[in-house]
Symmetry: C2
Subunit: 452 residues, 2 copies
C-alpha cells in the first residue's frame, strides 16, 4: 500500500530545505499515514524529513515505519539521538526494533537509554516467541480503585501522551494485581464524584503472559475487545495486548497454517530468502513424502501378477490415485479449518465419521459411474476383460473415495487427539497415504473379480 | 469459549425469582462476557434473565449474543418490546438480526420500529454482501469543524451512549462530506479553546461503500486503525467499520482461501449442513479433477509399448506422481499465500521463475538420488534393465520436480494475471495437472534411454 506519489515532492522540499512545508506534511496526516508516504524515500532521507518535527512526533511517525526500514535507518542516526527515540517509542515496538539490530549496534545504544526504560526493554525481550508476553506492551493506562472518576480523568490526561491506549483503563491494587476494568467511555459517562471502584467491571477478561498468542487472538476476537490485559501467575498486571497486534497475528497464523497444509515448512520471506534456504525448508517434507510413496511402489510390486494378466488395469492407476487424493484433501481441509476456528471439536468425531461416509458414498457413486463409463471404451483382449475392467474401476472408485473421505476426515482429529498440530496432515501427506490404500483396494478388487 | 459453569446457579436464581442477584450478575461483567455466560441457557431463559435490567443494558448484552441465539429468542419476545430492543441495538448488528429473521416475523416487527431507525435498517440491508457497506454501522460519532474542543467533548458525552465508538470522531461539513478526523485522545490533550478544525487531521484514510471487505481489512491492518470511515462516491460519510468486525472478516476470508485451496468449494456450516448439501459443494470439483485425470490415463495408454517392454517401470509411477504433486503443491502454496498477503506481486514473476527452477534443481537432485537408489534394488530381467531403470527413474525425478516447482509457482501468477482468484489453483488441481506431465516425462526418458 506504500504510495510513491509524493516522493519527488518530498525530495524537492528536502533539497530546498523547506522545513515548514515538511513539518506541515508530517503533521497533517495520522502518523501511520505519514509513515506510509515516507516509505518511498531512502532510509537516510526519511531520517532527514523526521528531523524537522519534535521528538514526540518524530518517535510516533518513526514507530509506524516498517521494522525493516527502521533497522536500516539506525546506522545513520546518532547514538544519543537514537537512545532518546527509543525512550519515546511504544514499548512493544521498540523491543522489536532492538531485537532486529546487530549485536554490536545494540550494545552501543542500550547503555545510553535511561535505566528504567532499558530494564523494560530487557524484560519484554525475555518472553518466548509466540507467547502473550512477547506480544504485549507495558505502556498501558492504570488507576487505583479508590480515586474519583474526576481524578481518574485528570490522571488519564497526564498519562495519555505516552500510553498505547487510554480507551481501556485497568484498575490495580497496591500490589499491582488486576482488580477491575473501566473504559474511557464509562468514565466520561459516569458522575465525576463516584469512585472508580464503583463504576468498574470486576469480571475482567485477561490472559497469562505464558499463553500462546493464538489464545490471545481468540479472546480478543470472541469478546470484541480493543485490548486485553496480560497478568502473571500471581494475577499481577504485566502488560496489555492491543487489537492491532492481533490483526497481524491472525495474518501470520493463517500463513503458518497454509504453509503447513501445503507441506511447505515454516514461512520464510520468499523474495529475499536464498534458494538454498528455501530448499532446506522444503526438502525434509519431500524426502518424507518420497519415502512414504515407496509404499505405493511396494503395493504395485505385490500385485504384478494381476496387472500383467490384464494390462489395461494400469491405465486407471493415475485416475484412481488422483480421485482418492482429491476426495481426501477436501475432507482434511474442512476438518483442519473447523478445528482451527473451533467450529469442530474432538467430541464431534462420530458426527464427522457419519457425515464423511455418507458424503463419500454420494460423490463416490457419481465418480464411479464416470470412471466405469470411461473404462467401457478401453480396448481389451476379450469381452470378459472389458466387463472386468469396468467393474474393477467403478467399484474401486466408490471404495477409494469413501475410504479417502473417512480417513481424510478422521486423521486431523487423531493428530489433535495425540497433541499434534492437525495441520501437519498436509494435502501432499494425505494424498501420499491414500495412494497406497487406493492401489491396494483397486488390485484386490480386480483380483477377486478375475477369480470369480 | 462459552462457559456453562454458571448455568445451574443462574437457573436457581431464575427459579427463586432473585432479581437483585440476577441484576448484579448482568452488570458485574462487560456485556460480551455476560452474553458469553448466558449462552449456556435456553433462549427463553436468557430472555427472562435480561428482563431484570433496563433497556439500554438489555440491548447491550443481547447484541453480544451469537446471532443464531438472538434469532431463536425473537419468537419469545413480545413484538413491541422487540421493536424497542432493535431501536437500541448497534446499527450493524441489528441489520444482521433482521436479515436472519423469517420474512413474516420481520414484517410483523419492522412497522413497530421508529421510522428513522427503520429507514436506517433498510438502507444498511441494501448493500451487497462482502462490501464495505454491508459491514459498516451508521452509529458513528461526528462533529462539525467549527466547534471548540470543549464543546466537542460535551457533544461527544451526549452522543456516547448510543455510538459504536467515541474514540474516533469524524469531522463533516454541512453537506456531511468527510473533511477530517480527530481521536478522543487528541481532543482530551488539546487546549479546550482551540477549534476542532485546527486540531483535526485533514489527511483521512477512508474506504468507499462499494469496496470489497478484504480491502477494508487491508486498510485497517495496514494503518493499525480502530475504525475506518466509509464514504459514498461524493465523499459523504455514510458509516464506519470497526476493527472487531475486521477480525471476523479475516477469519472468514482465511476459511474461504483454505477451502478453495483444498478444492472443497465454498465454506458451509459443516456440522449442521446435510450430507447432500456437502456432497453438492464437493462434487463439481471432484468431477473436474476426474476428467482432468483422464489425461494421465491417456498418457499411459500412449506409452504402453514402453512399459510392457520393461514392466518394473510401472512400480515407480506412484512415486514420481506423488513427488511431482508434492513439490508443485509446496510452490503453489507459497505463491498463493504471498499473493494474498501482498508480499508477492505480478512484477515478481521472473524472480519466482528463477527461484523455483533453482530450488527445484536442488531438491530434485536429492530426491532423484533417493529414487534411483530404490530402483537399484528392483529385480529386472537383465543388468542392462537395472541400469536403465535407475537412470529413467532418477532423471525423471529431477525433471519432474523442476517442472512441478516452475509450473506450481507460475500458475497462480497466471491466474491472477487473467483476473481469476489465484486460490482456484487448488492443491488437488495442481497435483492432477502435474500427474500427466510427470508421466509424459518419465516414459519419454525411459523410451529414449531404451533406444540408446
Amino acid at each position: 500500500m506504500a504510495s510513491t506519489l509524493l516522493v519527488p515532492e518530498l525530495r524537492e522540499l528536502l533539497a530546498t530545505g523547506n522545513a515548514d512545508a515538511l513539518r506541515e506534511f508530517c503533521l497533517r496526516g495520522r502518523p501511520a499515514v505519514v509513515a506510509d508516504l515516507l516509505s518511498g524515500l531512502e532510509p537516510e532521507e526519511v531520517w532527514r524529513v523526521l528531523q524537522v518535527v519534535e521528538l514526540p512526533d518524530r518517535a510516533e511517525i518513526f514507530s509506524q515505519l516498517e521494522l525493516e526500514l527502521q533497522a536500516q535507518m539506525v546506522p545513520d542516526i546518532e547514538r544519543e539521538e537514537m537512545a532518546r527515540l527509543l525512550e519515546e517509542m511504544p514499548h512493544d515496538l521498540r523491543v522489536d526494533l532492538v531485537q532486529a539490530l546487530e549485536e554490536e549496534v545494540r550494545e552501543d545504544i542500550l547503555p545510553l537509554v535511561a535505566r528504567a526504560e532499558r530494564a523494560d526493554i530487557r524484560r519484554l525481550a525475555s518472553y518466548p516467541e509466540d507467547t502473550a508476553g512477547a506480544l504485549m506492551t507495558t505502556d498501558y493506562a492504570a488507576l487505583p480503585p479508590q480515586v474519583t472518576v474526576q481524578e481518574a480523568l485528570e490522571r488519564l490526561r497526564l498519562q495519555a501522551p505516552d500510553r498505547e491506549t487510554i480507551y481501556y483503563v485497568y484498575v490495580i491494587d497496591e500490589n499491582r494485581r488486576l482488580t477491575g476494568f473501566v473504559s474511557l467511555k464509562d468514565l466520561i459517562l459516569a458522575r465525576p464524584s463516584r469512585l472508580v471502584r464503583d463504576v468498574m467491571y470486576t469480571d475482567v477478561v485477561s490472559v497469562r503472559a505464558d499463553q500462546d498468542r493464538e489464545d490471545v487472538a481468540d479472546v480478543i476476537g470472541h469478546y470484541d475487545l480493543l485490548a486485553v490485559p496480560v497478568v502473571n501467575a500471581e494475577g499481577v498486571l504485566v502488560g496489555i495486548i492491543t487489537v492491532d497486534d492481533i490483526v497481524e497475528v491472525l495474518e501470520e497464523e493463517a500463513t503458518e497454517d497454509i504453509y503447513h497444509y501445503g507441506a511447505a515448512g515454516e514461512p520464510v520471506d520468499y523474495l529475499s530468502a536464498s534458494p538454498l534456504s528455501i530448499a532446506r525448508q522444503r526438502l525434509p517434507w519431500l524426502m518424507i513424502l518420497v519415502l512414504a510413496a515407496f509404499l505405493s511402489g511396494f503395493v504395485l510390486q505385490q500385485f504384478s501378477p494381476v496387472w500383467t494378466a490384464l494390462a489395461p488395469l494400469m491405465i486407471f492407476v493415475p485416475l484412481l490415485m488422483g480421485a482418492g487424493g482429491s476426495a481426501g484433501t477436501q475432507s482434511t481441509t474442512v476438518i483442519i479449518r473447523g478445528l482451527a476456528t473451533g467450529e469442530i471439536t474432538l467430541a464431534d468425531r462420530f458426527r464427522v465419521l457419519r457425515k464423511e461416509v455418507t458424503v463419500g458414498l454420494m460423490v463416490g457413486a457419481a465418480m464411479g459411474i464416470l470412471a466405469a463409463g470411461r473404462a467401457w471404451f478401453i480396448k481389451t483382449d476379450s469381452h470378459f476383460g472389458n466387463l472386468h475392467l469396468c467393474a474393477s474401476v467403478g467399484l474401486a472408485m466408490v471404495c477409494a473415495v469413501v475410504l479417502a473421505k473417512t480417513i481424510g476426515g478422521l486423521l486431523p482429529l487423531a493428530l489433535k487427539r495425540l497433541g499434534f498440530d492437525p495441520a501437519l496432515m498436509s494435502a501432499p501427506l494425505i494424498t501420499t497415504i491414500l495412494d497406497s490404500l487406493t492401489l491396494t483396494i483397486y488390485f484386490t478388487l480386480a483380483a477377486v473379480i478375475m477369480l470369480a
